[in-house]
């Protein structure tokens, strides 16, 4: 979910923070060299990254060939073992499975004797795929030339998130291989159920082997290939939460209507669970079609701060509304609002979305049945300071109040919103490294997409949590997912350059954490 939510929203909300003259990456080598000046350790590490390039690419390919898919219960044990081996190989001193009740997580630690700890979040699972849709087989991890971009690796998980994660591991391993000490200690927590909305990940976090180590951290980040084709990046200060659910109307639970699909002529004398679903759904939404009619839904929705509004106004100025509308296939925003208003809505408004409707006959044409069951696949998007528990409780109370409590609410996963303090050591470090590397970036006050960062940013950890990383890739959840290995575009970093950026980030975090967390 991490990637799908940020592609297509973040990629169009970019703002050039630094005038780069369009040659950000061209500045990289001297910029990194400058950052490392007087630091022989860092220079040795960066050199080792180059020497290790081929092995890192091979390790990524091997990982892609082993897809762990929680929804299909595919390669669970193998995925855990592989994740542990990858961490050990990169130099982590401990690495072990953490039981969650579902697919296990993996905790790995690397204590270099530094003063501060940084947390890193991985997902080792990938989204399902249909090989028939791919131009290059999804599990072969082929290297393919993309004109104007460079050599990319095509495969399921290439960008979401094995590519960025392996890029980070290559940075860590380079410390080991060059015999240098990491400037910060690292606690790596990897989960195997991200693609099913992390139903058990909070259990991993609260595990007695995990919580104490994460509590030491100054923040947690997830590696991410955040550069667009023009080299610009984004820095998001949080994300909406998401709760996935199915709202199910059935004759069985209702005690009315049929308990199997029956001939539709019977609707003259038998109640209809499909109409009941329609009626229940319609109570949830005001006539405008987007304002949620659930009592108290907006009680804890925080208005945008002045800083958030200023950041959005800046994004609105520097991005093309027409281009975004074209990409989305949209002619008008809700209420025919302006571009700024649409961006403010995207950042600030909770939603109750219908992802899908399924009832009775769904094939071509019609079929004369009275369905016994009707399902709305839905999701809530939650904004600060809403919580998952609050949203579910209010939703259930609404159904009860309107007499629809026979409908089943099946929560399949979810988490609350992530809020990251812009003044934290983590965010200050992210900004500092991008500025030093000459990477233009946009600050997004809140991603409208979602990731389970709230397990870090919420209680009990209350840590800054963010996605960060250089490099490029695309196609998360779709066919021909890819990750850029060797860049032919001077504005965009390849895998080795992106690994070097993580080295810079780790040094910067050590420096910023020493100032203040």
């Amino acid at each position: 979910m991490v990637s799908d939510s940020d592609k297509g929203t973040a990629s169009v909300d970019r703002r050039t923070m630094i005038k780069t003259g369009g040659a950000a990456a061209a500045l990289l080598a001297p910029a990194v060299a400058k950052a490392a000046r007087g630091d022989a350790d860092q220079a040795a590490v960066l050199k080792t990254i180059d020497a290790n390039r081929d092995a890192a690419v091979q390790r990524l390919a091997d990982w892609i060939k082993l897809p762990s898919i929680a929804a299909e219960k595919r390669n669970i044990d193998e995925g855990v073992a592989h994740m542990i081996a990858l961490a050990q190989d990169a130099g982590f001193q401990t690495a072990k499975a953490i039981p969650t009740g579902g697919v296990p997580s993996v905790l790995a630690t690397l204590d270099s004797g530094a003063k501060h700890w940084i947390g890193v979040y991985f997902m080792y699972d990938v989204k399902q795929f249909d090989p028939a849709e791919w131009s290059s087989p999804p599990l072969e991890a082929r290297l393919v030339d993309r004109p104007g971009l460079g050599k990319v690796m095509v495969g399921r998980g290439a960008v979401n998130q094995k590519g960025p994660e392996m890029t980070f591991l290559a940075a860590v391993r380079a410390f080991k291989d060059s015999g240098r000490k990491l400037p910060v200690n690292i606690a790596l927590i990897a989960e195997g159920e991200e693609e099913i909305a992390s139903p058990n990940f909070p259990k991993a976090i609260s595990h007695p082997d995990v919580l104490p180590i994460l509590q030491k951290c100054v923040g947690v980040f997830i590696p991410s290939a955040s550069q667009a084709m023009d080299g610009t990046s984004t820095l998001t200060l949080g994300a909406k939460g998401a709760v996935e659910l199915q709202l199910i109307s059935s004759g069985e639970r209702w005690g009315r209507g049929p308990t199997k699909d029956i001939h539709s002529s019977n609707f003259a004398r038998v109640d209809s669970p499909a109409w009941r679903l329609v009626q229940a759904l319609d109570t949830l939404m005001k006539p405008d079609g987007h304002t949620i009619a659930v009592d108290g839904w907006y009680d804890n929705v925080l208005p945008l701060s002045a800083r958030e509004k200023a950041l959005i106004a800046e994004t609105a100025k520097r991005t093309s509304e027409d281009e975004v509308k074209r990409q989305l296939g949209v002619k008008r925003w809700i209420n025919d609002e302006s571009w700024v208003q649409a961006l403010e809505r995207l950042a600030s408004q909770p939603t109750i979305n219908i992802q899908g409707l399924v009832a009775g006959y769904t094939g071509p044409g019609g079929k004369t049945i009275l369905p016994h069951r009707a399902v709305a696949k839905m999701e809530f998007r939650l904004t600060p300071a809403m919580t998952k528990e609050e949203a579910i409780a209010k939703f259930n109370a609404h159904l009860k109040k309107h007499g629809f409590d026979d409908l089943e609410v099946e929560i399949t996963g979810g988490y609350g919103p992530t809020i990251t303090n812009e003044d934290s050591a983590l965010v200050r470090s992210e900004k500092a490294v991008m500025e030093r590397l000459g990477v233009a970036y946009t600050i997004i006050p809140r991603s409208a997409g979602s990731w389970p960062g709230v397990v870090f940013s919420g209680p009990p950890l209350n840590l800054p949590a963010a996605q960060w990383g250089m490099g490029h890739g695309s196609g998360a959840h779709g066919p021909d997912e890819y990750f850029l290995i060797d860049s032919a575009n001077p504005k965009v970093m390849g895998m080795a350059e992106a690994s070097k950026a993580y080295v810079a980030l780790l040094y910067e975090i050590a420096k910023q954490a020493a100032i203040r967390a």
Copy 2:
């Protein structure tokens, strides 16, 4: 549609009109013989039916092996040619295709020089099928032993309607083969789009070669294997009409929302066609979930007559409410009404049913999309004196009044209700033959299911139109559809016996028509 609608509704609404001592079919041979007494012609014809038995079974098998399916445009030309050949083979003097703008109909005439004409309606198309679901291949027309029932032919179209139709053709052919003259002239009109709700059949009826010949008829019937496993039959005095449609909400037509599925985070700023469909649907139905909220929908709904109420009360007395509820998987009728009230509703109330809902993601679990399109598959059931045109116009006016006229209403087929005068020569003949054959039967004032009989019973023909026929079969539209060939059950007629019943019917129609139409 003919068969699926009457199985499961009619089969449980039976009323024993004649005390038979449970041995109706045992009386058949002597009864038929009695009917034919003093009539050498009829005796010769009946004898020929027995002689022709094997050839008729083979002809049915050959027909099943050639499935014409309008929805799949499968075997259209071949189906027309085969229908023409079958009619010619049975002794019809003329047989030709009638253009309809869609799949052609076939008109065949047999003028024996009799005083009266009877119309017969055939469908030569069949429903789609999935061979994987069948225990005997659907196009092999295998003869299979069914314990307690006898030898049945299994195949798509076996009972709906090739079996009953071939049974009737065998009766007609027996006149030719025995060199006897039919007591009535026959106009046979066969359509090839019944399973897609007869969208073009009215054009065939109004064709200048068809209309004049049908106008001569005293009525029209469709052959039907109406006997239940206990040998009882039904006599229906009409049927509800049905209109099949899809109600489609799309970003394209609306001019709001997306024109392709996009990431669901966008629902914060982009309107949702799925919620719009929900809102439009909810305006159609009153809060009770079954009363239609469309202006004027009930204006032309005729109340049940005293005779209809009496027939229903009789059915209620003689049938098991518990058994019907068990078969349907239903605990309560609408409004917790009584058995009589439920049967009255079934006969008298128009419906707007949701057959299916399809929007966005319909697979397992969820998917974070905002769908650009949402569809409700629906059907209206119409009671006298509603018309198809009236219902469609009121439905469209309703959508417009509520501001939902951007939703597309795609009518895929339909027709109004059929009303058949109980005192017509056709119905009097049906009753007389069943009474003479000792077949117990129930009179259903109105089938809740539908068939396009209105093309005959409505203007411009205004003819009595009914389904009639002895014999047994089941599984219309489902797997392992079958038709009884050789009965091992003394209460139920096999194919040859059912052919003989048609001979009796043709003689009776000649007799009754001579009294009054």
